[in-house]
Structure formats: structure tokens, C-alpha cells
Amino acid sequence: MSDATLKARSPLDGYRQQFGTLEIVELNGLALVSVATPLDGEEELKKAMTTAHKAELPAVGSSTQSSVDDTRFLGLQPGQMFAMFAHDGDRAVEFVAKKLGETGYYTDQSDSWVILQLSGADVRTALERICAIDLQDSAFPVGAVTRTVMEHLGTIIMRTGHDTFVLLSARSSAKSFLHAVLTSVNNIQ
């Protein structure tokens, strides 16, 4: 048996930088669990969501939030959502399974993504350089979420505040993704 313990590293080692009014922060301490709806199991899952989280099943392109534990549910595609919640360990699936039981199929995605939060008045101006999605209030209100591509990299974008967006992209290309975001920010500053 090993006497070593494994120390976790985040994709960007906790990146945080201010650019004028715009701030870029790597979000850590968040768990992401994919919840797939079993065939013909949507009603069961809805019920479990209501009971355990007091939250609605999110429609594709939107998110809902638990009033009980702040868990966000990101509607990403028919039959699949992500649960995002504060959790610093490596047992995220157990946490979700405890709440929703066997109403979904769960896959831990916590280590699959780098999560960047961009906030500030210029955030949309920066993002329009790499994001093909219309981020205006009328088209992408607070709570909206969608999959897209930024600089060839698959990305999930979620609007969490008027001037705040959370971007998820593949962990292995985190440095390339950060470079793409930083280039956008530097090009507008």
C-alpha cells in the first residue's frame, strides 16, 4: 500500500487576473455531474428534482437552481443535464445519487472541464471575438446556457449575471482556451 497521498491540481492552477473592469477567474471547488434521463423516465426524474432540490428540470438552453442547496442544473441537450454544485472532493456522483436515486444515469465530469468565470462591463465585448452565440439580454438572458465552439474548442457558456459568464471547456486544452480568452480581452482593452 502506498504511503503517498495524491494532491489535486486544477487545470490552470487557480488562474485569476484583472484587466481593467474585467476579471477572469478559474473556478475551482465545483462539481459537475452529468445526469442522463432514462428512456421514459422524465417524470420520475422531475419528481425527484422537485423533492430533493425543489428545482425544475431545465429546458435545453436554460438552467435552473435549487432553492435548497444552490445546485445549478444546466439543460444541455435532450435527455441530458449537468448538475453543478460546490464540492471539493472526488465523490460528486455519490452526492447526486443520494439526492436523485436511480432516476438518472450519472457520470462525473468534474475533472473534464476547465471553468472560467468572466465578469465586468466589457465582458460581452471580449466574448464577441470568439463566441458565435448572441449574448444580448433578449437572446441570452441570465440563466441561459448552451454548447458552442470557441476557437475550435467545444465550450459550454452560461450566463450567471448581467455581466458575468461562466465558460467550460475541455481540461486538456485549458491553456489554449485561456489563451483564446486572454487574446480577446487584450484585443479590446
Binding site: 491540481r9 442522463a36 475533472d111 464577441e128 481540461r171 486538456s172
Partner: protein, 982 residues
């Protein structure tokens, strides 16, 4: 020279003097000038030389249609050729040089070409340079190449940066002239999200260059009030210095915004931004372009478009001449005479091709109705014109107007054809516009101010209403309709001298006639034969003249003659802007495994596999070439234990009640009965029966599997599985998600691998051979409770495992494994040693699964289950894929053990010539086997399984090698597989 041609008025800022250089001569202009207007203000007439004949050329127009005034802007690495002086905004320190001449601009050595013009008519290069044959490559071509082309690139990397982006709007308004501004005001006031784009740095279009009034105020003032209102609205985005250059599918438009071209220094910010504008509707308000009339020597500096001449006077307070003549076929030309006269410029004559009552003209001007200009004089600038009656009139500028062409270009970008309007003698947009586009104003043939304003206003109202925006009170701007009658007149037949149609390409009336004479009847052929309408201006001032002359030759009407197809871009887009930020290593993203930093610290050499960087080998001190490192790594795995990062393999989480059935359908071999806790090798076929990909799939529970794919095919296989799930078998309860990024995975291979892992896995995990046999899998914990997955699988043929931990622990895990392995002489090995080990074992990889080979070819024919229907199983039974003399994967060993083998060599029976007809297969993978002490290879050869021991040639014609090889079993090492089961 002190702005000798500057006059009163204009919209320039005289409080800001700007110094600039043209051909090293220092000149002054004002803020608000373009380079062209500043040159005009300084009395500079000669600005360049023509493409073919090196004729002296001057500024011809005042906009992006300019064919002549192309200059090289800036210096050193920033140098950019073919910049149109008419759209180059003046800044302090601007440095420009003329182009296309040898020696000084005034005394161009290549002006001699003009004397040889009879030998250089259209298509001359198709008829000459034929003899002697040997001269072409060594003499003709080098001379032509050194003479051809406009301007010179710096030849160095472009130091500017460029960017791209995406914009969205309800209504995109293209052009901020009167129609565009009226449309923008109406649409914006309705609440629609509006993008108003204009190529000029000062919006307003011809309102800035004419003396019209709108709402009882000067047109330019009305335009700036409108711009001020639009700029103050949150729902409006005003893009100046932005050319919408292309109309694409689904309401998407390409636009190039110039950000720092008007600044001396970009300050490290992008020079230009290429926007992709997604619009719900678009209103094209692109205005119109004035065209010329062809007559003898109509290309001299000082001969300009009439509208441009008054634009320089009205907007930029610069007169192109002090004694100006006008030659026109329409009412608009007369306006040049009256506007310039109002600025105090002498008008020597107005010549109108129409035989009618003259319009109001400045006093002192000679009026000639129903007349034409047949010739001009003045080598470096016009000095006089000759009329059809032989009369000569002195002038230093001739303003020519042949009428106006609506700018229909963007309406044709999706194959729309424009329609002819006789009353305008011009094409207007046809009915088949790009989806969501409407056209108003001069671009739509409404060539007068009031009509343009009304069309813009009305169309924006109906577009906004159609999109569901509120109706708001928005008054139609009031203006008069000016006189705009035109009578078609294209070229002066009496001219004996050459009459230019396309000044940029030196195409004359005679060239068009010659083209017709030589049988080029299609407009497209005319264009290619003469080069009419090519290059930076794309014939904006020339195409109509060319068509008209062609129509005359064929005896057809202009609409019958047709037009060439307008394609994007409307005006030039630098390649740098198209590339954007995708330069150098930023051309594409790079994927790094969590142990990348650790591997870098070990001095690893990396190789690109897809987007991944993988450690190829880990050199040690004293090793002088890669083979030494790879041999050491491979031998160490065979004798002790090695660790290889296999994180990059695709991992797909497959869950659901029907997951097993799903896998059973996508894999050629059976998976339905795979027990929980077991792993199985799987082969996937394409629909056509060809092998697609392979990998192992582990069953973690009744409803959960983890599939691994090859690194290269991870995305393609996931996409394929999603297609199967969603489209082929939507009734199955199965769910997929990629877990490639979730797990850091390491192969631990070698006889001491179990000993090493025992120091990593937690105490309660039994990994003895009995408890955790070959092909076992399980979810375990390591290093004191960290969740992990363990698979007992082997690519190397050794006792081996793959251990996976959540990626966050990947860096720590490689370090822990290496630390734990110290006592077992563990080494890290890279992809090269991995390749050596798998070739020694005869395992197929990407080289063998190349999209041409079947399960039979790979020696896995029996894996394709006949008991079930799987993708590719039926078509894999095609006769030709199961021939007795088909290819078989076998091993190859050099007869002379010192010979190196080369992948790509083709096999030929001994004694036969190495020809395509005798080709019997090819070598797919080779390696030097340190265990065997010689090169080994895998490859496909016909009837391979029957030919063990036969000597064949491995012919490599590309490398000039032909090596005798013996056909052997592909399992070079431990053929019984005893080592991996211990």
C-alpha cells in the same frame, strides 16, 4: 508644395494639420482628408503607372472603386501594396510610395512598353513566347514574373495583428448614405437591434459630397445629426470604416472593420477585425458607382469621374483642377460644373453627348450639346481635350460622367442575377436576393435623394413591422429629387487613339473588340481573355463599358449579353484578416495530458497525435540518439516495469438498461454476455464492412460500460455512437458521454508491474492473479482513498495494467507511480517504445486500421459474429472481402538481419519486377526490436497465412530500397501470450 489646390469649405478640420510623405516628398493635409484628397489638395496629379503599358495615371475616383491610385503604404515590415489612396485615411506621418515603375515615377523605364503596345494587345501572352521552346523557362517567364504584379510585399512576416468576431442584429443596414441613414433611424426607433455599417470613416455617403439639403439643413449636417442620434441609442451599433464584403447563407454577412489603419501606430491592437454578422434581415443601401465613357486617351492624370471631382471640392475642399471641363451623358455631370464654379473654379467647357437643351451652366463655360471628346493631350497630366468637331479646349481636369451603376454586388453573392433598366441604362437588383435581404436607395435604382430617403424609410418600417417591432412615429426626411436624366452613351466611335475601358488592367475598346473577333462570345470568356474587371477594383468603373462594347460587337442588347458573376469579397480583404489570430502555434489548440509538465521536466521529446502532445521518449544522459532511448525503454518494460501515459485514449461512458445490447450492435464481436468486472477487446466495423476502430470496453456494472477508443478516433467514434443511439436505435435506453478528459490513465507494464501497483492500491484491494486475472477491471481506491479504476489489459504483451484516477490527480499519480517504482527499476516510456512493444506482439494499430482493411485482413475474421446483426457485419461478407487470395496481416523479418525495414514498402514475389501489376501488399509498421536484435515489420500480403517462411521483396521505390524479407508470424514475441497471464 503647399496645398495649392485647397479651396474654401469642406468637412476637413483645418485646425489639425497632418504631414505625410508621398515618394519621399513631405506634404501637408488636414484631419478628415484621405490620402487622395490630400494629394489633390497639393496638386499632385501623377500617382502611379498602369499595369501593362506603364502609362502615367492619376486619381480617378473618390471611393473604393478606384482603379488607378494604388499606393504602397507604410514602410519596412508594415509595407502594404495596392492600397487605394481614395480610402486611405490621412494620418500624421503617413508614408506612401507609388508603384509599378522602374526608376522615378515621372521617368519610368518600363514606359517603353507603351510604344510596343501594338504587340501587347489582349491575350498577347497566349500567342507569343512560343519559340524557341527552351526560352520559356529561362528567359520569358523570369522577365514576365519580374514585370508583372502591382506593388511589392515586404517579404517579411506581417507584424500587425488581426482578429475576428461575431455580431448579431435584427436589421443589418449596409451603407450609411441617405437611404441607409433613413432606414437606420426608422428601424432603430422601432426598437430593433440595428447594425449600421459603412466603409467610410465619415458616415453620410453622398450627403457629404453633394450640396443637397435634407429637412431644410445641409445634407452633411443632417447626416451628422442622424449619426449622433443613432450613436446615442443602445440598440444601435455603428460600424464605420467597415466594408460588408460578402452575403452568405442564413443572413450571415462578412464584414471587414479597419481599426487602426488610420493611426500611425496600432498600439499592439488588432489592425482589422473580420466580423461575421448574423442578421434577421438586411437592408442593402450600398449606393451607386459612377461609370466613365471611353474615348481617345481617356486615361491621363486629371481625367476623373465627375461625381468624384465635386466630391473632392465639396467634402475635402480640394479641387482637382483650376480649369475644369465636363464630359457627360446625363444631368448629374452638370452638377460638377455648377458645384465647382460655386467654389470659384473656372469651368472651361461642358460637353454633353445628348442633343437637347443645355442645363444651367456656369458663366464662361463653353457648352457643346450632342458632342463628344475624341482625344486628350498632356503626358503627366491633362492639358487639353479635342472635341468631335476638332475644337481643342484647354483644361487641367476633365470630369467625366457616363451615368451611375447601382451597387448590386451583394445581391448577386448567392447567384442572383441583376435586371436591366433602360431608363437608368444600368442593372438593378434582380428578384432572387439572398434570404432576408432587401435593397433600397441608389443601389436599388433610386438615384435621386428624395427617392432614396423614402425607400430607406419605408423599407425599414416594413422590415421592423415584419419582425414584430412597434410602429413609431418617424417622419420621412424631406428632400428634393434632383435632375438625373441619362441617355446611354458608352464610347466615342470617332476616337482613333486608344480608349480605355478598364484602367486597372489596361483594357481598351480595341481589346474587347479583338476578344469578340477571336471568338470569345461569353462575358465570362471576355473577362478571362482580356482581364477586364479583375484585380483590386473588380471592374467597378469598367464592367459596364466592357459589356456595352461587347453587346455592340455581337449586335445584342446589354441584358442579352449578360454580366459576370459577382462574388465575395466586394473589395479586397487582406489574407491576414482572413487568418485572424490563427497564426503560428495558435493555429490550433493543443491538448496536454495532466502529466505533461512532469514529462517536460524529465526532458521528454513530444510528438503531435491529433491535437495531443504525447511524450515520444525520455532521453537519459549519455544517450546520443532516439534509438538508444527507445531500445532502453522497451527492454526495461520487458525486464522490469515501465509506465506510459495513455490518458489520450478516448473514453466513452456508456450507461443504460440497454447498454450491453447497444454495444453488441456496434461491435462486431459479442458484448452482451460480458461479465461485470471484465474487459473485452472489441472491433468496430464501418457500415461497408471495413474495420473502423478497436479498443477495449470494460463492464463496471450491469448498466455501465467504459469504452476506450484510439486517440485519433475518439471524437469520430463518439459521433458515430451518438448517431447510432439517436437515429438507428432510439428505442434503446442508452446514454453516452465522453469521459476522456475525466480520467488520467497510465499503463503500468512489465513483469514487476503488479509489485509496483501493490504499493499504490489500497490495502483492501487484492490484485493477485487469482483475484484480478487478465482482462479484469474494477473500481478501486489508491493512495489512501482516492477513487481509481484498474484494468488488467496489455498492449505490450507483458503482465500489465492500466490505472486511471480523476484527472486532477494525474500529475500526482505519475509521480507516485515513479516513486513507487524506484525499487523495481521502473522507467517512463513514450509512444515510440509503446509502438515497438506492440509491433513485437503483432497488435494492430492505426497503420493497420487504415480504412482499407477488413477483420479478415487483420486476422480477426472469426471475431465477426454471425449470430447477431451488427454494423458492418452483412457487408463484411461480400465476396471480394473474403477472397482466398485476400490480404493477411503477417510479420516480416529481414533476411539479412542487419537490414532496416521501411513502412510503406510494397511486397513483390521474389524474381518479379517491382511494378504495380506485381504488387502483393504493403508494409504497415516497422520497428527495431531490441529484444530480437533486428528490425521487424507488420504488413499485409496476399495469402499471407499460407506463405510463412517465404522470402519476398520489400520494394521501396521512393527511397530506392529493395530488401529481402521473410514472411513470419506477426507475434514476434511471446506468441503464446504466457507473460501477460502470470
Amino acid at each position: 508644395m503647399s496645398q495649392s489646390h485647397r479651396i474654401d469649405g469642406g468637412q476637413i478640420d483645418r485646425s489639425k494639420t497632418l504631414s505625410f510623405f508621398f515618394n519621399d516628398q513631405r506634404l501637408d493635409g488636414y484631419a478628415g482628408d484621405t490620402l487622395a484628397s490630400a494629394l489633390v489638395a497639393n496638386g499632385v496629379k501623377l500617382v502611379g503607372r498602369s499595369f501593362k503599358y506603364h502609362r502615367p495615371r492619376g486619381i480617378f475616383s473618390a471611393g473604393s472603386e478606384e482603379p488607378n491610385a494604388l499606393v504602397q503604404l507604410r514602410r519596412g515590415t508594415f509595407q502594404e501594396p495596392n492600397t487605394r489612396a481614395t480610402v486611405a485615411e490621412l494620418f500624421d506621418g503617413l508614408y506612401a510610395t507609388s508603384q509599378n515603375h522602374r526608376g522615378p515615377l515621372k521617368h519610368d523605364l518600363l514606359a517603353i512598353n507603351d510604344f510596343f503596345s501594338p504587340f501587347m494587345s489582349a491575350g498577347f501572352y497566349y500567342k507569343t513566347f512560343m519559340w524557341p521552346k527552351a526560352f520559356w523557362e529561362k528567359i520569358y517567364e523570369p522577365i514576365i514574373r519580374s514585370s508583372a504584379g502591382l506593388g511589392r510585399l515586404s517579404g517579411k512576416a506581417d507584424p500587425d495583428i488581426y482578429d475576428k468576431g461575431f455580431l448579431h442584429c435584427d436589421v443589418l443596414i449596409i451603407g450609411a448614405g441617405p437611404a441607409g441613414l433613413a432606414a437606420a433611424l426608422r428601424a432603430a426607433r422601432s426598437g430593433a437591434r440595428v447594425i449600421l455599417a459603412d466603409e467610410d470613416f465619415q458616415p453620410g455617403g453622398r450627403l457629404n459630397t453633394e450640396t443637397y439639403s435634407v429637412d431644410d439643413t445641409a445634407g452633411a449636417d443632417w447626416a451628422s445629426t442622424a449619426i449622433a442620434e443613432l450613436s446615442s441609442m443602445d440598440n444601435v451599433r455603428l460600424l464605420t470604416r467597415t466594408t460588408v464584403y460578402g452575403a452568405y447563407d442564413h443572413g450571415v454577412y462578412g464584414a471587414l472593420e479597419s481599426r487602426t489603419d488610420h493611426l500611425r501606430d496600432s498600439g499592439g491592437k488588432p489592425r482589422q477585425i473580420l466580423w461575421r454578422i448574423c442578421s434577421r434581415r438586411a437592408i442593402l443601401c450600398a449606393g451607386s458607382t459612377e461609370r466613365s465613357i471611353a474615348f481617345g486617351n481617356n486615361d491621363r492624370p486629371g481625367i476623373m469621374m465627375a461625381g468624384s471631382v465635386r466630391a473632392y471640392a465639396n467634402r475635402w475642399a480640394a479641387t482637382p483642377g483650376k480649369r475644369v471641363a465636363v464630359f457627360t451623358n446625363n444631368d448629374d455631370g452638370w452638377r460638377t460644373a455648377t458645384d465647382l464654379a460655386a467654389h470659384g473654379v473656372a469651368i472651361s467647357a461642358v460637353i454633353d453627348t445628348r442633343d437637347k437643351q443645355p442645363l444651367a451652366a456656369p458663366s464662361g463655360a463653353m457648352i457643346a450639346m450632342g458632342s463628344t471628346v475624341t482625344d486628350t493631350k498632356g503626358r503627366h497630366g491633362i492639358r487639353s481635350i479635342t472635341l468631335a468637331n476638332g475644337q481643342t479646349i484647354d483644361c487641367d481636369c476633365l470630369a467625366v460622367s457616363g451615368g451611375w451603376n447601382p451597387n448590386v454586388h451583394l445581391t448577386c453573392h448567392q447567384r442572383g442575377r441583376p435586371q436591366w433598366r433602360d431608363d437608368l441604362a444600368a442593372f438593378v437588383p434582380g428578384g432572387d436576393l439572398p434570404t432576408g435581404m432587401s435593397v433600397v436607395g441608389a443601389a436599388n435604382g433610386a438615384l435621386t435623394l428624395s427617392a432614396a430617403l423614402k425607400q430607406g424609410h419605408d423599407e425599414a418600417g416594413s422590415v421592423a413591422a415584419g419582425l414584430g417591432f412597434k410602429k413609431t412615429k418617424s417622419a420621412l426626411p424631406k428632400a428634393e429629387d434632383e435632375a438625373a436624366e441619362v441617355a446611354a452613351f458608352w464610347h466615342v466611335g470617332q476616337s482613333n487613339a486608344r480608349a480605355w475601358i478598364d484602367q486597372q488592367n489596361d483594357v481598351t475598346v480595341k481589346d474587347v473588340k479583338l476578344s469578340h473577333q477571336e471568338g470569345y462570345r461569353s462575358v465570362e470568356h471576355l473577362k478571362r481573355y482580356t482581364t477586364l474587371g479583375m484585380a483590386t477594383d473588380q471592374g467597378k468603373t469598367a464592367n459596364m463599358l466592357g459589356l456595352a462594347v461587347m453587346a455592340e460587337c455581337t449586335g445584342r442588347s446589354i441584358p442579352e449579353t449578360g454580366t459576370t458573376i459577382f462574388r465575395p469579397p466586394y473589395s479586397p480583404v487582406p489574407i491576414g484578416a482572413l487568418a485572424g489570430r490563427a497564426r503560428g502555434k495558435d493555429f490550433r489548440p493543443t491538448r496536454l495530458s495532466p502529466s505533461h509538465e512532469w514529462a517536460e521536466n524529465q526532458g521528454a521529446t513530444f510528438v503531435e497525435t491529433g491535437q495531443w502532445l504525447r511524450a515520444q521518449w525520455f532521453p537519459k544522459p549519455g544517450e546520443t540518439n532516439w534509438r538508444q532511448s527507445v531500445d532502453r525503454e522497451a527492454l526495461q518494460v520487458r525486464s522490469a516495469v515501465g509506465i506510459c501515459d495513455v490518458t489520450t485514449l478516448g473514453k466513452i461512458d456508456v450507461q443504460g438498461r440497454d447498454a450491453a445490447e447497444f454495444l453488441n450492435k456496434v461491435y462486431a464481436n459479442g458484448f452482451a454476455k460480458l461479465a461485470v468486472g471484465k474487459t473485452r477487446y472489441g472491433l468496430m466495423l464501418r457500415e461497408d464492412g471495413i474495420a473502423a476502430d478497436d479498443g477495449t470496453t470494460a463492464r463496471l456494472s450491469e448498466t455501465r460500460f467504459v469504452m476506450t477508443t484510439t486517440t485519433a478516433n475518439a471524437v469520430a467514434i463518439f459521433r458515430h455512437l451518438e448517431f447510432c443511439r439517436q437515429c438507428l436505435w432510439p428505442g434503446l435506453d442508452v446514454h453516452l458521454i465522453s469521459a476522456t478528459e475525466q480520467w488520467a490513465q497510465y499503463a503500468v507494464a512489465g513483469p514487476k508491474s503488479r509489485d509496483l501497483l501493490r504499493k499504490i492500491v489500497d490495502a483492501d484491494i487484492d490484485i493477485s492473479n487469482e483475484a484480478f486475472p487478465f482482462m479484469a477491471c474494477g473500481e478501486i481506491t489508491v493512495c489512501g482513498g482516492t477513487p481509481a479504476r484498474l484494468f488488467r489489459i496489455s498492449f505490450s504483451g507483458e503482465l500489465a495494467y492500466e490505472i486511471a484516477v480523476p484527472t486532477r490527480y494525474g500529475d500526482a499519480m505519475i509521480k507516485a507511480l515513479m516513486k513507487a517504482g524506484e525499487e523495481f527499476d521502473a522507467i517512463a516510456y513514450g509512444t515510440e517504445a509503446l509502438g515497438v512493444l506492440r509491433i513485437e506482439k503483432g497488435h494492430a494499430a492505426g497503420n493497420e486500421l487504415c480504412g482499407q482493411t477488413t477483420a479478415c485482413d487483420l486476422g480477426m475474421g472469426r471475431m465477426v459474429s454471425k449470430k447477431k446483426d451488427t454494423i458492418g457485419s452483412t457487408l463484411s461478407e461480400r465476396v471480394d472481402l473474403n477472397r482466398e487470395d485476400g490480404l493477411t496481416l503477417v510479420g516480416f523479418a529481414p533476411v539479412n538481419r542487419d537490414d532496416d525495414l521501411k513502412a510503406g514498402a510494397h511486397f513483390v514475389t521474389k524474381g518479379n519486377a517491382a511494378t504495380t501489376q506485381n504488387d502483393e501488399g504493403w508494409m504497415t509498421s516497422v520497428a527495431y526490436s531490441p529484444s530480437l536484435g533486428h528490425s521487424i515489420g507488420l504488413g499485409f500480403i496476399k495469402r499471407g497465412h499460407e506463405r510463412m517462411g517465404e522470402i519476398v521483396q520489400a520494394a521501396d521505390l521512393l527511397r530506392g530500397m529493395n530488401t529481402d524479407v521473410e514472411i513470419v508470424s506477426p507475434h514476434f514475441f511471446d506468441p503464446e501470450g504466457e507473460r501477460l497471464r502470470v
